[in-house]
């Protein structure tokens, strides 16, 4: 990582431009003759003024102050930081996929519609569902879409159900999505094995339960072995079962949510299906449903009419539109390319590799960190930093120390039901040597906690910047750069 601490506004010089536009080949217009004065911009927006080389150096320097999967191991539990294939990037950039307008006549975009239709079919097969919508742009949006369909389903049946149940280990988007969809959330405590407590569940499920939202394997990386009993309890009370697909990387080709008894599923294509995280997005969160929920799927739907692909919005019970156009097409192209690359055997080997690697790494680390659960894990596992906490060092400190060795730390402090939690997900794309090296560093840090805790407490030491004052950032937020202009030069303020 290199030293570079300039904002693009700070390297700007009046009069520079980083692009070249053509002269107008039509008649020029004086805006004052066209628009009323008060609607014409009086002060130009202070955008940067840099040459193309300055621009390139600036963003190259920024990239050098950033860590992606291509830089090093990224064992962020729950995020599935697996390799992002380059062929996916090339394909998404084909003019035939990137330079098409969503409102073009269907006959001019048959290739795009064919891709979407086939992806729908394949994701339905992978999840064991009957139909899929590709519209939602992310997992959270998928959850909300699924819950809006749950809402519509019960309204249609004339039943008023207001509660959505989630386990205490659930990802924050679950209760948030439920609230945004107009439900009340009820939290079900887990048993001492980290799994859904079936007895607690039975006590909470009633005629007012719209749905139970589960991830399986759950956020602790543990497979809910009693899933069929859980499904029975919910279905017998007339409720629906929702599958949060964040952990689908553990079960591809081994089982499906459909087999487990789920009625609705969302997938995170930016997790399981290698579409890049992009620093926080874009993603895609397709939703699959069983037959009884098909009428409520968003519109427009991509359907086949003989040999042609068409868009059909004529579905009166649909919940309507959840996102612009047809979803994040560019992301869907990448996922499609990945599924074509792997095929059925490849996808199964993905999950087998993911689960093998997680168990291997867990066994390597267990002697040095508290492992709250003994069950064989699936694609990720949790450790607790409670042993180290007793010596005065917290999980946060150990995470910062990992930065010194070039690793992105695992997920910390989630899920909430494990003290000083560390969640590790190696994924199937990492080699044994990478995992061995990581384990060695984790063990080294565990030893440092005992013998030289200061070095952990004051970490990181080798990064471009130390720990940042987040309290100050929240108390007196500075959320933009303020530019002060004097004559020719742009000077700094803030």
């Amino acid at each position: 990582m290199i030293e570079y601490n300039e904002l693009i506004f700070e390297i700007s010089r009046q009069g520079r431009m980083g692009s070249s536009l053509p002269e107008s080949d039509v008649e020029s217009i004086d805006l004052n003759t066209k628009y009323p004065k008060h609607l014409i911009r009086d002060v130009p927006a202070e955008l940067p003024e840099v040459s193309e080389l300055q621009l390139v150096r600036h963003y190259t320097a920024l990239s050098n102050r950033n860590h992606g999967i291509d830089n090093g191991f990224y064992p962020l539990g729950s995020c599935t930081m697996k390799y992002n294939p380059k062929i996916n990037e090339d394909v998404a950039r084909f003019d035939g996929f990137s330079r098409i307008h969503p409102y073009q006549p269907a006959e001019t975009v048959q290739g795009a519609l064919e891709l979407l239709y086939n992806l729908q079919e394949e994701l339905a097969e992978i999840t064991g569902m009957d139909s899929v919508t590709l519209q939602p742009s992310a997992g959270a949006q998928g959850e909300w879409t699924g819950l809006m369909m749950v809402k519509a389903y019960f309204e249609q049946k004339g039943e008023k159900r207001t509660k959505v149940l989630v386990p205490d280990s659930a990802h924050g988007t679950n209760p948030a999505s439920a609230t945004v969809a107009g439900f009340k959330t009820v939290t079900i405590p887990s048993n001492e094995n980290g799994l859904v407590d079936l007895e607690e569940l039975k006590q909470h499920v009633d005629q007012n339960t719209a749905a139970l939202m589960l991830t399986n394997p759950n956020t602790l990386g543990l497979f809910e072995k009693e899933i069929l009993e859980i499904a029975k309890v919910v279905h017998e009370a007339g409720g629906l079962l929702y599958y949060d697909g964040a952990n689908a990387n553990a079960i591809l080709g081994k089982t499906t949510p459909g087999h487990m008894g789920f009625d609705i599923v969302h997938l995170n294509l930016h997790k399981t299906f290698t579409t890049p995280h992009g620093g926080g997005g874009p993603g895609a969160g397709p939703v699959g449903v069983k037959k009884q929920l098909i009428p409520y799927l968003p519109v427009p739907r991509i359907e086949k009419d003989g040999e042609k692909y068409v868009l059909n919005s004529n579905h009166p019970l649909s919940i309507g539109r959840v996102k612009g156009y047809y979803g994040n097409f560019g992301i869907l192209v990448r996922a499609y390319t990945y599924i074509r690359t792997m095929g059925p055997v490849g996808l199964r080997q993905v999950s087998e590799g993911a689960v093998l690697h997680a168990n291997y790494l867990r066994k390597k680390l267990e002697p040095y960190f508290d492992a709250p659960y003994s069950q064989v894990c699936k694609h990720e596992f949790v450790l607790s930093g409670s042993r180290q906490k007793k010596l005065g060092v917290r999980t946060l400190d150990m995470a910062k120390r990992l930065l010194d060795f070039g690793y992105h730390p695992p997920t910390i402090y989630f899920p909430l039901n494990v003290e000083e939690c560390l969640m590790i997900e190696p994924t199937e794309t990492e080699s044994k040597e990478t995992m061995d090296a990581f384990a060695d560093v984790m063990i080294k840090i565990a030893k440092e906690v005992e013998e030289n805790p200061e070095i952990v407490l004051e970490a990181p030491h080798t990064t471009v910047i130390g720990r940042l004052d987040e309290v100050q950032a929240a108390r007196q937020p500075i959320l933009r750069y303020i530019i002060e202009e004097t004559d020719q030069k742009v000077t700094v303020k803030s």
Binding site: E470, V471, A474, R475
Partner: protein, 130 residues
């Protein structure tokens, strides 16, 4: 250990209530609460003349890691708000019982004070297991 005077009453949601003249009370959060929240970055309180209802949310206190509801320990009308907290929310951390007070309320139902805990009861409550 608190620096509170013996005349403070407490709610189970960790607010303290100080009786002033007439039917007025001053409200804040306890030392226990500010410690749980961590560094407080922002406070959102009701405005003067707003009505508050016992056990209902009347604002939020935001720290870096959490946003907590402030539940009204009593019902009534807000007559005074601690404006200083706008610029110095950390006062709540530093002096939760003095300069870090939140609002003053004109009680609509003074009987409600009887349901609050006294100092000993509150201490027992927080030691009991939170």
């Amino acid at each position: 250990m608190t620096n509170a005077t013996a005349s403070l009453l407490y709610s189970k949601e960790h607010e303290w209530v100080l009786q002033l003249d007439g039917n007025r009370v001053r409200i804040g959060i306890s030392h226990f609460a500010q410690k749980q929240l961590g560094d407080i970055v922002f406070v959102e309180t009701p405005e003067v003349d707003d009505e508050v209802t016992v056990e209902e949310s009347m604002g939020t206190i935001e720290s870096v890691k959490a946003v907590s509801e402030i539940y009204a320990p009593v019902s009534g009308t807000v007559v005074c708000v601690n404006e200083d907290l706008n610029d110095n929310p950390q006062t709540i951390n530093e002096q939760p019982y003095d300069a870090g007070w939140l609002v003053e309320v004109e009680l609509s139902n003074p009987e409600e004070l009887k349901s609050l805990l006294n100092e000993a009861e509150y201490q027992a409550y927080i030691e009991g297991g939170e």
